[in-house]
Symmetry: C2
Subunit: 717 residues, 2 copies
């Protein structure tokens, strides 16, 4: 009887601010554990919460532990200060917040820094307790989420001896959100930030957004689009930004803004934005002071300059370093940072777009201020389904380079394709630059360990909108989750992250987790196959990037066409980036250059990134290039049936509403996978003139049909 | 024990597809009744559900009764066919769906038409049962919602003898939703219709939208903005429209679209859209046939033509009747209707905007096809906080006139002001046109009873968006609800509708309902006072209509300025619409003309609508006009404190999240009420040059300050 009453109470609590089954609760679902024996076992170790809630952050930790453990364990756990503990108490705090923690004289704390924590089972005064300890309140919050994750994924919590700290300092979401609430490359509805109603109206969603991010260790968020609007830096908007910052602060999340380089002209009434102009320097200094009056812990600026039409220092004949340093100097007195994007290329420069960021930035190495990070997209072009790592990684040892991943699926099926991106992130992070010999991975460049940088960071372009389930596709949540987990620790495996997420989001039944893990792990390669196999890239629809568009040619900017990248004609296909071509490979270290440049070692996945080859080129498998390309498209499209069948088999483990969401999207994905297959094969056949190999389904319609498809109001532009 | 298990199950069911407390569930909250005695009593009369679910509509009724009654009564009610009934059974169906219902030979059914129903307690074979019977499945659905409402508002359900049918045939929401998901005059986020993901992805929200509308008897919805895009009529979008229609159909809701008059040119490649051109006629006929192939029960077209830049028949020298008839002829074979808007006025015509719709449309009376309704905004200008009824009501006896109300609060504080609009709707519906003597109310014009029209209708411009709580302001839900209830039965009182809504949405505790009813009933008059007292109108901010703008003058269109409407100078204020002025009053029947035209009878609420008066004009209260105006602004602004105090007192009855939503918005409303007070008084004092009377708070800032306020990215444009 009592149990049921508790169950009822707990259920009420656990759905407190969420849709029951829309997906709104993300991975923070605290429904009662079904396995009675396991639950009883947990209750022995975790029977009460002891925390001194002397700060908003500790209060947040306490709320989360209370709500989470009580929900999962089906009993309202007693909550009180660390003054009185009992056997089974979860004791959380810092040496400063709790005299008990202080008294424990925990050795491990010394190495945990500002954000680390320890989770430890120990006996204190004869009582078995679980300690969550850290040097800072936010460390305690992170540790609390870790403990919850252990219970959510049904891991043991006895004999805990966990010590964790992040490998990267700045773990940041980039929202490409415009002030009118549209989201560039956003496919999950519109912006979370309701600027009009701020600062007076604070949505519950802001809090839940903060909880979700804190649960995976994200500690910064850039609220606005890199294609920036300077109005965000005015008194009309700064109080609104401050209101969001106030909500996020207890969760350890700093707010950043994008700075439009021409702001001194647009909102400052200056005649110039020249970074060497004294009035411009003063303007930015005053502006920074003004921002910090509103937001004392403001994080800093993210800047896209002299790229795709954005203004920048080059408008005044100055370098990117001069531009970045202008802002860095303004922020430095307040400990703010500048994240300056390396995503620059010009169609006026007669040079392979692949090479331009490197050419522009490498010479500037050493010229940036100490509080500048150069933010580099993972690949040299633009978030394609597969790219080699950007040659900038390893090429600027004197500059901390920040990784920029795209979580939102601009080129990965937008919000309708199930694509688990951890393997993509890992592929890049684990890639070896060889710049200081074997083991000089991109991850080690980014985390600062290779070149001994104290400053380090990683950014993910958010896939979050105001859709009820936050990310449009339920599995988009897994990418937000995976980004956060890898930002914390890039050594985690994609498989383990998938298991954590599926366990927390759906079910911990082993056969369910194994099946779903398999589906997720294959999903990105499936997409590569039906979209851009063998190293094809940038062949999607014009402008909105929705669907296939290998025929895109003759546009005002050649580097925005597909033909520029595949150059397919009757004889050959691919972009020669070896020494006989653009020689982009020369930007890599000799080992990498040789690996990709030599047809004997270049993996088929990267082939057309670096080589221009005749259709008749023999692959290692013995097939011709034409046959291999056709077969990959076929393989990609055919991968959808098992995926759908796999999901349908999982129906018993998933509630109806979320099951249906995914079921409907998989049907759309299948249709679109075949659309890519058909349109690309029709197009490439029109180039090669060759027959399709056996087993390859011919396109359903003519090439003209696919070329004539036009779509209005595609989201995310 | 059993009870608790039930309670648990029921709770799971009741939150099935909803946020627990975000407001997502609207008034369809089926949480268990707290009063144990009452619940037990209900369970005696309502212990099982018997319905033959032979159609999707009956299935919907069955689902709703099952979910609703089980939730409210805390016990999973047995669900089966009407073949076997027991004492306490709720038996629902039509003579066609159920032989039991057929066997009852219910006399009342004869008069119920296509949408009516009866709710009746009766004894059958010695068993006490409750019968929900109708001639049609949708009648059964409506009756089911009625029964649920009785239980939700804790009314008795024994000795039921209810017979209901709607007084109006077409009860329609107008969504001013654009295809890019922005919503014109939408303040609750973005459009519900996710066109990009349709037809493949059907949000749960579409179903919940249908349920909400069916629960209040709304039977039609226009999906698209009256400022129309012809693309909606193409093969790119029609399958998407059909997918929505398929979701709404079981709930008795027909889908309509806005038709852009120039579509034959824009999407049909014709050279003209002249309604008398044969190729144009054929084009629309073919287009209608095509639409009906997608949507066999398509409702028809809503058209804004030759108004605010929209194309129309006058572009070709044809009349509105000729334009409407073109579309009506195309739809007639499929039983579709045309709703042709009378909201027309031109700044090129040197005539009081008040008079233009009447001048344009009255001469056309009798020229419209049988399947045309002329849709008339409630007032002659544009949804102001208070308007006299449009003189068209009563002036076109041969034409069915459809009422157009605005539910979205374009001029009523947008989504931040608590304004319960039922009193506004009632004020208009109950107004007497006197065209056929006393009692010729606007409601009787609209419901067709005055002029014996079979066709009748009412439209409400929706306030619905993708915000978690649907309407931005929680109390916006009450306006959606009130519109639907009055569309069904315009004789209901505002007070009763408020009581129903508060009971279902929050609590049935009598002191709570009485308090909240009082707050709601005063809310519209409060707003009139702080925005546009004494008959002022159209003095809001330019373009976005956010905030005060009495100083707006010298714009390209005079009839879009504020000065045009108040004409305030150092001597006088107001628009003379008597015989000495524009004589707009001549458009009313003599009784109305005299009532408003005579200063002795004209109510102060309408004074400046019809009279231009010196500031020194003596009001009946003895004050001067200037004093009265100032006092009304003061009264309006001061009304916010008691409203806020009132809400704070209700905290014990409302969950935290919804309480906070309203609390935060009331704080914004208070700020904005004083902003209106300050800005308008500063401006009008600059005209009158008079001192403020005692008790009136002087504006905090200078007039220049208020005039200099500019706002970016105000929603809803």
């Amino acid at each position: 009887m009592k149990k049921l009453i508790f169950a009822l109470i707990i259920f009420f609590m656990s759905v407190g601010h969420s849709f029951a089954e829309s997906g709104y609760r993300l991975w923070m679902r605290y429904d009662q554990i079904n396995d009675e024996a396991l639950r009883t076992q947990y209750l022995k170790s975790l029977s009460g919460i002891r925390i001194d809630t002397i700060s908003p952050t500790l209060k947040a930790a306490s709320d989360e532990l209370g709500k989470g453990l009580s929900g999962l364990l089906g009993r309202t756990l007693g909550l009180s200060s660390t003054a009185s503990i009992e056997a089974g108490s979860v004791v959380a705090g810092t040496p400063a917040s709790s005299s008990l923690i202080r008294g424990l004289k925990l050795q491990s704390l010394a190495g945990l820094g500002d954000e680390g924590y320890m989770l430890s089972s120990m006996v204190h005064n004869g009582k078995q307790i679980t300690v969550i300890a850290a040097n800072t309140d936010v460390g305690v919050l992170y540790g609390s989420f870790h403990l919850l994750r252990l219970v959510q994924t049904q891991q043991p919590v006895v004999k805990l001896s966990i010590v964790e700290k992040p490998l990267l300092k700045h773990r940041v979401l980039n929202h490409w959100d415009n002030l009118d609430r549209t989201v560039e490359r956003g496919y999950a509805g519109f912006s979370l930030w309701n600027w009009h109603l701020l600062p007076g109206y604070l949505q519950q969603r802001y809090i839940d957004y903060a909880r979700a991010n804190a649960s995976i260790g994200i500690n910064g968020t850039v609220l606005t689009n890199v294609n920036a609007n300077s109005l965000i830096l005015t008194e009309e908007f700064l109080p609104k930004v401050a209101a969001i910052a106030n909500v996020l602060r207890p969760y350890g999340i700093k707010v950043y803004l994008t700075a439009r380089f021409s702001s001194p002209i647009e909102i400052g009434k200056l005649k110039t934005a020249d970074p060497l102009d004294e009035s411009v320097k003063k303007w930015w200094k005053d502006k920074a002071d003004e921002i910090y009056r509103h937001i004392p812990d403001f994080g800093g600026f993210l800047v896209k300059a002299n790229s795709e039409g954005q203004p920048g220092p080059q408008n005044y004949g100055r370098s990117h370093a001069e531009g970045a340093n202008l802002l860095a100097d303004a922020l430095a007195p307040h400990n703010g940072i500048v994240m300056w994007r390396a995503f620059v290329y010009s169609h006026e420069v007669d040079e392979d777009r692949f090479k331009q960021a490197y050419n522009e930035f490498k010479p500037l190495d050493g010229q940036f201020r100490k509080n500048v990070l150069v933010q580099v997209k993972n690949g040299p072009i633009d978030f394609q389904p597969r790219e080699p790592f950007s040659p900038l990684f390893g090429a600027m040892p004197k500059t901390p380079l920040m990784m920029e991943f795209q979580i939102t699926q601009e080129y990965l099926g937008q919000a309708t394709h199930l694509v688990y991106q951890a393997p993509l992130y890992k592929e890049v992070l684990d890639a070896d630059t060889y710049v200081k010999g074997k083991g000089s991975t991109v991850a080690r460049v980014v985390d600062g360990s290779l070149d001994k940088h104290a400053l380090s960071g990683i950014a993910g372009v958010a896939n979050i909108g105001d859709d009820l389930n936050w990310t449009g596709h339920l599995f988009g949540q897994s990418n937000w989750y995976a980004f956060g987990r890898l930002a914390w620790n890039h050594q985690l495996s994609s498989e383990n992250i998938a298991d954590e997420w599926t366990g927390m989001t759906f079910s911990n039944v082993p056969e369910f987790k194994v099946s779903l893990r398999g589906m997720m792990m294959k999903s990105r390669e499936n997409l590569v196959n039906y979209m851009t196999p063998l190293g094809l890239h940038h062949i999607m629809g014009w402008d909105h990037h929705y669907g296939p568009g290998p025929w895109i040619k003759d546009k005002p900017r050649m580097d925005w066409t597909s033909f520029y990248y595949h150059k397919a004609d009757s004889v050959a296909i691919g972009f020669d980036r070896t020494a006989s071509g653009s020689n982009a490979l020369s930007q890599y270290s000799p080992q990498v250059r040789k690996f990709y440049g030599d047809l004997k070692t270049c993996p088929p996945e990267y082939l057309l990134w670096f080589h221009r080859l005749p259709w008749s080129h023999r692959m290692k498998t013995g097939e011709s290039l034409w046959e291999a390309l056709s077969q990959r498209y076929q393989q990609g499209a055919e991968s959808m049936d098992p995926l759908i069948a796999g999901w349908n088999k999982l129906a018993p483990y998933v509630d109806q509403e979320r099951f249906d969401q995914v079921r409907m999207l998989l049907a759309i994905q299948k249709k679109e996978a075949w659309w890519w297959h058909d349109a690309c094969l029709a197009y490439f056949q029109s180039r090669s003139g060759l027959p399709f190999p056996q087993g390859v389904t011919p396109p359903k319609e003519t090439l003209e049909f696919y070329e004539s498809q036009h779509f209005h109001f595609v989201p995310g532009i």
